[in-house]
């Protein structure tokens, strides 16, 4: 920071031709320092996670050495990851999407309908993804072209879509026992060397999304739009389109998440997805993506999801009754926010 304020710009241009050959160098000469600086937010999240796990482990060392504990988390964690990651894009873009739980429910309902009608689950997945895409497009268009506050408008859409599901199904769930024998199940939801395969897909998704965020035009434009939409518009970026795209991405993520959730226990409930609203939101922010837009971290968000997933498990494993879960949820959220606050500068 110190040098930033007294730049070496005293010599006006033209006089500097003698120095033109010089090369850029990273502010830190040591690669490790550079790495830490570039990934402060996600490393901060990792630190929170490690401290939390350390506390739980000290409370009960034996449970935390059992693989089953981890494998059980790895079964449900992927469902959250498929929505947390696109939400990092949405928040980076300066918006928020609270309609993903209903989208999860809607898309997985379509999946359930297709499978129940006797079609191949792969077709069901495709149909679910198409549904998620359309719903994301619908929500995004309403927010972006309608010029509405995404916080409230997506909350409204969540009610509206869930209401539609309820009206049509009148509360009936759908059980899909036939799924267990399908190829889709083996590929997406079985175990491999004792590891739930879901997590491989989720990791692949996180890696893909992290690349999309950091190494793709889409990510670059999402960040710029969230940072300074006026500037982005002047530079020829279709700001509205980019905004709609992040909602579509969330719709797709929610569709995959919903489908994975149904494949875990072969049942679709009309409430499917509802339980994910708060944990997923908390994950994004525990993960170190700030609310003001422009910056964020996909990997941090993923670590945030892991952290949030382990709160409940850890509380129970540490031998506390479930009454402590809410308390710890709140505590971790507050501590993470304080940590990131101290860790992150906001430029204007």
């Amino acid at each position: 920071m110190s040098k930033a304020m007294e730049p070496d710009l005293q010599t006006p241009l033209g006089r500097t031709s003698g120095q033109v050959g010089k090369e850029w160098s990273h502010p830190s000469n040591h690669w490790l320092r550079g790495f830490v600086l570039d990934n402060r937010a996600s490393l901060g999240t990792l630190a929170v996670f490690i401290v939390m796990m350390a506390v739980f482990m000290i409370a009960n060392p034996t449970v935390f050495t059992t693989w089953y504990l981890y494998s059980s988390v790895l079964t449900t964690l992927p469902v959250a990851l498929f929505v947390v990651v696109p939400l990092v894009f949405v928040v980076t873009c300066g918006e928020i999407d609270l309609s993903f739980p209903a989208t999860m429910g809607f898309a997985s309902w379509v999946f359930a309908l297709v499978v129940q009608a006797g079609y191949d689950p792969f077709l069901g997945i495709a149909a679910a993804v198409v549904t998620g895409t359309l719903l994301g497009f619908l929500v995004g268009s309403l927010v972006v072209y309608g010029g509405l506050s995404s916080l409230i408008a997506t909350l409204g859409m969540n009610f509206l879509l869930r209401g539609l599901i309820q009206i049509i199904n009148e509360g009936k769930s759908t059980s899909l026992s036939s799924l267990a024998d399908s190829w889709a199940y083996k590929i997406f939801s079985s175990q491999f060397w004792g590891i739930p395969v879901q997590i491989f897909w989720a990791i692949a998704f996180v890696v893909f999304a992290a690349l999309l965020y950091n190494r793709h035009r889409f990510g670059a434009q999402v960040k710029v739009v969230g940072d300074n939409p006026d500037s982005a518009k002047q530079m020829g970026i279709d700001v509205k389109l980019v905004r709609v795209k992040v909602f579509v991405f969330t719709g797709i993520g929610a569709a995959i998440a919903g489908t994975f959730s149904v494949m875990i226990n072969f049942t679709w409930w009309p409430t499917a997805g509802d339980g994910y609203l708060l944990p997923v939101l908390a994950s994004v922010f525990v993960g170190g993506t700030p609310t003001w837009g422009g910056i964020g971290t996909v990997v941090g968000g993923a670590i945030g999801a892991v952290t949030v997933s382990f709160i409940q498990t850890g509380v129970v494993a540490a031998g506390l009754s479930g009454f402590y879960v809410q308390f710890f949820n709140g505590l971790i959220i507050i501590l993470s926010l304080l940590g990131h606050k101290w860790n992150q500068a906001r430029y204007r």
């Binding site: 089953y68 494998s71 988390v73 449900t76 509360g171 009936k172 226990n265 409930w269 944990p279 009754s321």
Partner: protein
């Protein structure tokens, strides 16, 4: 009596839970069947199990002066009392479901359809103790909505019965999200099993979670029969779990009846002037020996 002898009667029916939870759906179907058979006009009310909301909904129900109201007993005697008094004044017939409200019924009348929560819970505890072959000093886990006194009364009863038999019971408070998506409970249940390695039996609060037992056990690396899983309600998923040997016992509180009977009784009270019904629906236990009887009904969300 005509086929639709109750045709001109207006009834408000409290389904209770969230739209679409396993228990509420069957209650709803029972009530709808009654409405179809008897002909009354029925308004269905959902409350997400939020007691404050239930009281307000009851207040509004009393205000529109239907001939009968079938109310959930969850808010408890104190909260229901003034409204029951108002209903009594206005000549509205009352039925209560799921949680008994003895003081209110004593003061202003009304019937009750549902298990006697506490008793049913205790009965389940005793039955589980017997069937699982538990001994004093054994360990069991009981999951339940202990954060809500009246909703958790049943599970508290089970805990009490087991404790009295000398079983060491670990209580896990269920989270509201688990009702919307029981998969969310996979890791905590695994953790609880790992934390209490000697556990012989696990009890679950309602249909949604009990139906998911196979997933929980697989996640924790347990095989069918390793652990005695028991709980409340029936559903297609629970029938499947019986088939697979994952679930050993469920106390069927016959939610269909909890939907059907209050409406029948209200019709009888309004049209025929009969006294209110008092039915304990918590009679039956479903075990691996008799689960097939309920399987077809469960599939149609009737039991």
């Amino acid at each position: 009596l005509d086929a639709q002898w109750c045709k001109d009667v207006h009834i408000r029916f409290f389904v209770g839970g969230a739209e679409g939870d396993a228990f509420g759906t069957i209650v709803y179907n029972g009530a709808k069947q009654a409405a179809a058979d008897l002909g009354p006009k029925v308004d269905y009310i959902f409350s997400q199990w939020d007691v404050e909301k239930m009281v307000q909904q009851l207040r509004e129900a009393v205000a529109v002066k239907p001939q009968g109201i079938a109310m959930m007993g969850h808010p408890g005697d104190a909260a229901i009392m003034p409204l029951a008094e108002q209903a009594h004044k206005d000549g509205i017939k009352m039925m209560y479901q799921n949680v008994p409200v003895p003081t209110v019924v004593a003061a202003f009348g009304g019937g009750y359809v549902g298990a006697q929560q506490e008793q049913q819970g205790r009965a389940l505890g005793a039955e589980a103790f017997k069937l699982a072959g538990l001994k004093a000093g054994d360990k069991a886990i009981m999951i339940g909505p202990f954060e809500n006194e009246s909703r958790g009364a049943r599970e508290r009863g089970t805990v009490a019965a087991l404790k009295e038999a000398g079983v060491d019971v670990v209580q896990i408070n269920s989270q509201t999200e688990w009702a919307a998506d029981p998969n969310l409970a996979i890791p905590p249940i695994t953790a609880a099993l790992l934390n209490n390695p000697g556990v012989k039996a696990v009890g679950y609060p309602g249909g949604q979670m009990l139906g998911n037992v196979a997933t929980y056990m697989q996640a924790a690396g347990r095989k069918p029969g390793d652990i005695f899983n028991f709980g409340f309600d029936t559903s297609p998923q629970i029938v499947e779990a019986f088939k697979g040997g994952w679930v050993q016992l469920t106390a069927d509180q016959q939610p269909f009846m909890q939907g059907y009977l209050p409406i029948l009784s209200l019709c009888q009270q309004v049209v025929l002037g009969l006294a209110p019904m008092n039915v304990d629906t918590g009679a039956g236990f479903v075990t691996p020996q008799n689960y097939e009887i309920v399987s077809e009904l469960a599939k149609q969300a009737l039991r």
